[in-house]
Subunit: 343 residues, 2 copies
DNA sequence: AAGGCCAGTCAAAGCGCTTTGGCTATCGTA
DNA sequence: TACGATAGCCAAAGCGCTTTGACTGGCCTT
């Protein structure tokens, strides 16, 4: 069933039927009702490809997500998507996901733009120095960055967490509990969020007269096995840490596994603070605060990004950026420093 | 830059240019070379909406994923997508993801089909009794199911794991190690895979004269907190299990957390076998076999589904279904039954 | 020399919508 | 009574591709 058939059966022109269905004011209320009711009965759905061609709008948002090594798709992405898609459903957009190998990203953006397959994109995993901003600006493709680059040049939309402050605060908390030997299990530091987290931590350390030690700082994909591996290494260091900061609950779980395996009790023998993205499939601090965390919902970030992007596409007014503050929640994974632990 | 401009500048008709670019044989090799080179120089990309309208093909695969309670997106989905998207990239398809609330699924399928937004869909989380098969068949929308329904009616494409056999085998392994009190932490049992797992387990139990006890069988979303909660409950049962089967590494991690918390040693005091989907962000048995698992890669399933669906869409010959066997890998989370553990 | 065939090209007709620019009653106003 | 405004409808022109059907000129056959 297409518009032509529908309008013929109704004894109306395509123009009128189209207008009736799309809520234009030039049709009488009675006609509109008749048309809409008939369309529903006939199960009429406009062909979206035709509509897209005619309007030049695709009503689709693109997500270009890079695969990291081992072809892994960042699990944090799941929750971000859950948030964003909620907004897409509400506002009538489709979500196009393009999983790409790290190198080919830019070409994919170019294609999406020239193709007119999407009305805008969300940029994931911004780097400290990232030319995607310039590319997208040149292409005149609306975009929102989940995170920021470190370039001073502003003018783009972003949603980010104050990572520096969160990690500085967590570090200070540990220092006040007497820790002076604090490890870091971070994300990949060519990405801004991870770089900022390290900066925040180092700043706090230095302000308390502690020189950061690269030997107890680790950076990689934020997945369980990496947390386990890093912590295992740290614990066999000649001068092991008494506390650790983890950039994700996933690495934190790995770290805790390593600690348990060595017979350490988390919160007593060793302290741990994790960054909690509120991943829905992992233990959170909701019910029983088992972990001390800095918390900010990545799903919320997804919602904010999506809304902001659509506002921009539809030229609606609205905020151009959001700097979220992570909530600091004290759980039982931290405690005062103890006599040096021995394996 | 569109086709018209391009062909004018080349002094050719749109027909010839279109054919040259799309590899039709009716153009001379020299013309083709000239056209392709010029198109590249001009950064020409055909407008995909126009192309879709003209061809009636969208070159897009739809994934309709239901949100479970708490608006959670199944984390197992991430890896499935990683696999599928690899195929989509290779074969020139886009991936459209539609996240829906559990109830509205069918309507979404109907819309996708009538809209002509996708050429086919992948059905996730099939239920024991699932009317999506009939709906999609009626709509004549090609589809592949990740899993199966339990309806005898065949004729659709699917990729599934032999869940029954995997769980029967794991159960037998535990029984042979002397366990007679075996718990189950399963997925949602209105879904076929979970129902089959339970069946496999119960069959093995009965074959060894053990009556399944519903009090140590749990069913829910396969996420860490649920594994933790279930295991905690089991351990405070008047007759606690000596072993447990988990439907996912995620619940297994939760279960292990509960065991650790009570001071139990996994593999000595209590045995655990998990179903390992090879989720890339979780510890697998690859490096050091810490967990005894039944293993089958969900990413591989994603690849198979995608290839099968595209074959179907393009009317290429190929297999219509795949029944994968899970690999049984013995790790250190299982051992002979011990004197009854006491909390 | 006439006819047939083929390679290479093109004009034009869709694909199914939206949107522009009329057109016709009808009504209020002077 | 006449005239402009307006509500309600329509025909037709795109949107940027693909594809059909037709047309050339050169070459081979008989």
């Amino acid at each position: 069933m297409n518009l032509k058939e529908l309008s013929e059966k109704l004894g109306l022109s395509q123009t009128t039927v189209s207008r009736a269905l799309n809520g234009y004011p030039e049709v009488s209320e009675e006609t509109r009702r008749r048309v809409q009711e008939f369309a529903r009965r006939m199960n009429y759905q406009p062909n979206s490809n035709a509509r897209r061609l005619a309007t030049g709008k695709s009503n689709t948002i693109g997500h270009v997500v890079p695969l990291s090594e081992h072809d892994m798709l960042n699990p944090h992405f799941t929750d971000f998507v859950a948030g964003a898609s909620k907004v897409y459903n509400r506002r009538g957009y489709d979500m196009l996901i393009s999983v790409v190998n790290a190198g080919t990203e830019k070409e994919v953006y170019r294609n999406l733009a020239r193709n007119r397959r999407v009305d805008g994109v969300i940029v994931h995993g911004p780097r400290v120095k990232d030319d995607r901003v310039r590319i997208l600006t040149d292409l005149k493709l609306p975009f929102v960055i989940h995170g920021r680059t470190n370039d001073p040049e502003d003018g783009y939309c972003w949603v980010d967490v104050n990572n520096r402050r969160a990690f500085a605060k967590a570090t200070e908390y540990l220092i006040e509990a007497g820790h002076r030997r604090i490890a870091l299990i971070n994300g990949l530091e060519f990405m801004t969020f991870a770089a900022n987290r390290r900066e925040g931590m180092e700043k706090a350390l230095r302000e308390h007269g502690i020189e950061p030690d690269a030997e107890i700082m680790f950076s990689s994909d934020m997945i369980e096995p990496n947390g386990y591996g890093a912590m295992t290494d740290f614990l066999s260091h000649r001068d092991p840490p008494t506390a650790v900061l983890c950039s994700s609950i996933l690495t934190a779980m790995g770290a805790m596994r390593a600690m348990h395996e060595r017979g350490f009790s988390v919160g007593r023998d060793l302290s741990l603070i994790a960054y909690d993205d509120c991943l829905s499939f992992l233990p959170s601090t909701g019910d029983h605060p088992s972990m001390t965390v800095m918390r900010s919902s990545i799903r919320l970030a997804g919602e904010l990004c999506a809304d902001m992007l659509i506002d921009q596409i539809e030229k609606k007014p609205g905020r151009r950026n959001h700097l979220l503050e992570a909530e600091f929640v004290i759980g039982s994974s931290t405690g005062p420093v103890r006599a040096k632990a021995t394996a």
